[in-house]
Amino acid sequence: MKFSAGSAWRRILFRHEMLLLVVLIVEWLLFLHFGTMTNRRGVTVGFGTLDRQFDILRHSCEIGLLALALTPIILTAGIDLSVASLLGLCAIVFGQLTHDVGLPLSLAIPLTLLAGGLGGAVNAGLIAGLRLPPLIVTLGTYSLFRGLAEAMTGGAVTYTQFPSGFLALGQGRWLGVPAQAWIFVGVAVGMWMLVHRSVAGRFIRVIGFAPEGAQYAGVRVGKCLTFVYVLAGLVSAAAALVYTARLGQAKADAAVGYELYAITAVVLGGTSIFGGKGSVTGTLLGVAVIAVLKNGLATLPVVIRMNSAEELSGLLTGGLLLFALVIGMLPKLLSAVCIRR
């Protein structure tokens, strides 16, 4: 019992989230130091400006929303590769509803969310209803959703000229902060309540730990799984609206490749790909670490002169992910070594 105080500290210190927080603070400070400068017009530019910080928020909202949607799914030991494709499909659906059908926003937005929910329901039906492996099902819908988006537009139509009220959702500010940040915060709080403060959240973890056991313990596994996949569809649709509003265009190639970044953020946030273990806070920190890294690198004069901010940040993100994995394994490895001795 002598070490109890110390080990309590250690528990907090060695928690994955704490490690991420330290990484986040360190990189933020480094970029603040090296990425803020005065340009030749005498204006302070770069990482340290409020504008830049808001840009980071804006750029990370869609990936953040997808990562939030993926968190409960990965907690059930599932995966959803189709989120970004569904985002593309929803963007096209929204574009067609507002332009070709001519519906007002008040109808088009709920219908787009409904389309997202339906897309999620396709995944849910196959995964929860028929118990098919999520990796393969969502690999199929990954192609299917993107393919439908391309087929619906002939790969060519780009929907633009949305009403300015809608564009404000992605480009304007509400209460001094980028508008989409409020949606992000809302979804994040909702997701946190769901995962950490509700019975459903506990069921989700149980399913991830032991699906058979969950069944016998009276958890309605099918219902729970359906819920998380449909929810992911809804959140993807919301992300589609934000994406469309930010770029001012809806096109079939919207958000190609975002699923990789979203999964990276979730796993970096400490959620185990085998399910059961992880947190929404971790995911948020994971998103923040990646977003600050990506945007921060783009403000460093050295990196700008290399003309390769995106590539460098991708390389570092991959490295960081491996590093986080190895760090997460360290206690297990050490104890394995100790037992062997």
Binding site: L130, P133, L144, L325
Partner: protein, 317 residues
């Protein structure tokens, strides 16, 4: 219920047969020697990677970094050729580079016990962006004499196809008849049981990733010799195509079940969609949707089969 051994593979082959028959009826122009030879040669690299992916998935792992490894091998070999390495030395070079990258995956996955999907996701991102950083997306122009090994084009295509065929046949035979091949099945069915039976599951898993890496290197070479330039984006999206082929071909994602030739038939099926659309004068944009639908139908069939099998079995639980 009577369960045929190759039920699933034969079903896929039958579907492929239907498409080919449909083409024969509505678009007989599809059956011309030269275009078919070109089509087959273009799919040869994917086929080789598919074989490697079968091995990895049989051991109940997955590798989504193949596309990036493919690009890296292609570009590095292209640069070696451009700096004057003889053509014959490129193949071993590709094998070594690919094998080394596969070994890195293997160390993390088999050595440290990390989840394969996440490790290879990190590799996918890191390798692709690293290559972009290094090359800025620029093409590599190859010297004369690399394309088709300096032979005429038809001869080159026949050599490529024969070599691919021999390689695939050897791998298919090895997986069924050589003890190492059976070990992949054993580890994929039940790692713990295979350990108790005296195998070394970690070593087997490591080897599976090295095999896949080396095969990806060979595939990249087969791609490099087909044209006078190497585009760094050439492996883009290959991982999904290959995994889809494996799954459609009836290899269980849960490991230990499936046949290499099934996956090869699966790849042919997916590869036929794009030309079939052109020959039937349909819009190109439906291609991806069709591929997705085929994957879903395949997994659905598998699920329904498993379900009825469960129902027919005496319930011990």
């Amino acid at each position: 219920m009577k369960d045929w051994r190759y039920r699933r593979e034969l079903a896929v082959a039958a579907l492929l047969g239907c498409i080919l028959l449909g083409l024969a009826i509505w678009a007989p122009a599809f059956y011309q020697a030269q275009p078919l030879l070109s089509l087959a040669t273009r799919e040869a690299p994917s086929l080789i990677v598919t074989c490697g992916m079968v091995i990895v998935i049989l051991t109940r792992q997955i590798d989504i970094s193949v596309g990036s490894m493919f690009s890296v091998c292609g570009v590095v070999c292209g640069l070696l050729a451009a700096s004057g390495w003889p053509v014959w030395s490129l193949l071993p070079a590709g094998v070594v580079i690919g094998g080394a990258m596969g070994a890195v995956n293997g160390v993390f996955i088999a050595g440290l016990g990390l989840p394969s999907i996440v490790v290879t996701l990190a590799m996918l991102v890191a390798l692709r962006q690293g290559l972009n950083l290094f090359r800025q997306g620029e093409f590599v122009t190859l010297p004369d004499g690399v394309q088709w090994f300096g032979m005429s084009q038809v001869h080159g295509q026949i050599v490529v196809l024969c070599a691919t065929g021999v390689l695939v046949a050897l791998l298919a035979y090895g997986l069924q008849r050589i003890s190492l091949g059976r070990h992949f099945y054993a580890v994929g069915s039940d790692a713990e049981a295979s350990r108790l039976a005296g195998l070394k599951p970690r070593r087997v898993t490591f080897l599976a990733f090295v095999f896949l890496g080396a095969l990806t290197g060979i595939a990249a070479m087969v791609n490099v010799v087909q044209s006078p330039q190497v585009q760094p984006l050439s492996g883009y999206g290959m991982e999904l195509k290959v995994i889809a082929a494996v799954v459609v071909g009836g290899v269980a994602i849960s490991g230990g079940r499936g046949y290499l030739w099934g996956a090869a038939v699966g790849l042919l099926l997916l590869a036929c969609i794009s030309p079939a659309l052109v020959y039937l004068h349909m819009e190109a944009y439906w291609e991806k949707a069709f591929q997705g639908a085929i994957i879903l139908v395949a997994v659905l069939a598998e699920g329904l089969r498993a379900r009825s099998a469960r129902r027919h079995r005496t319930d011990f639980s």
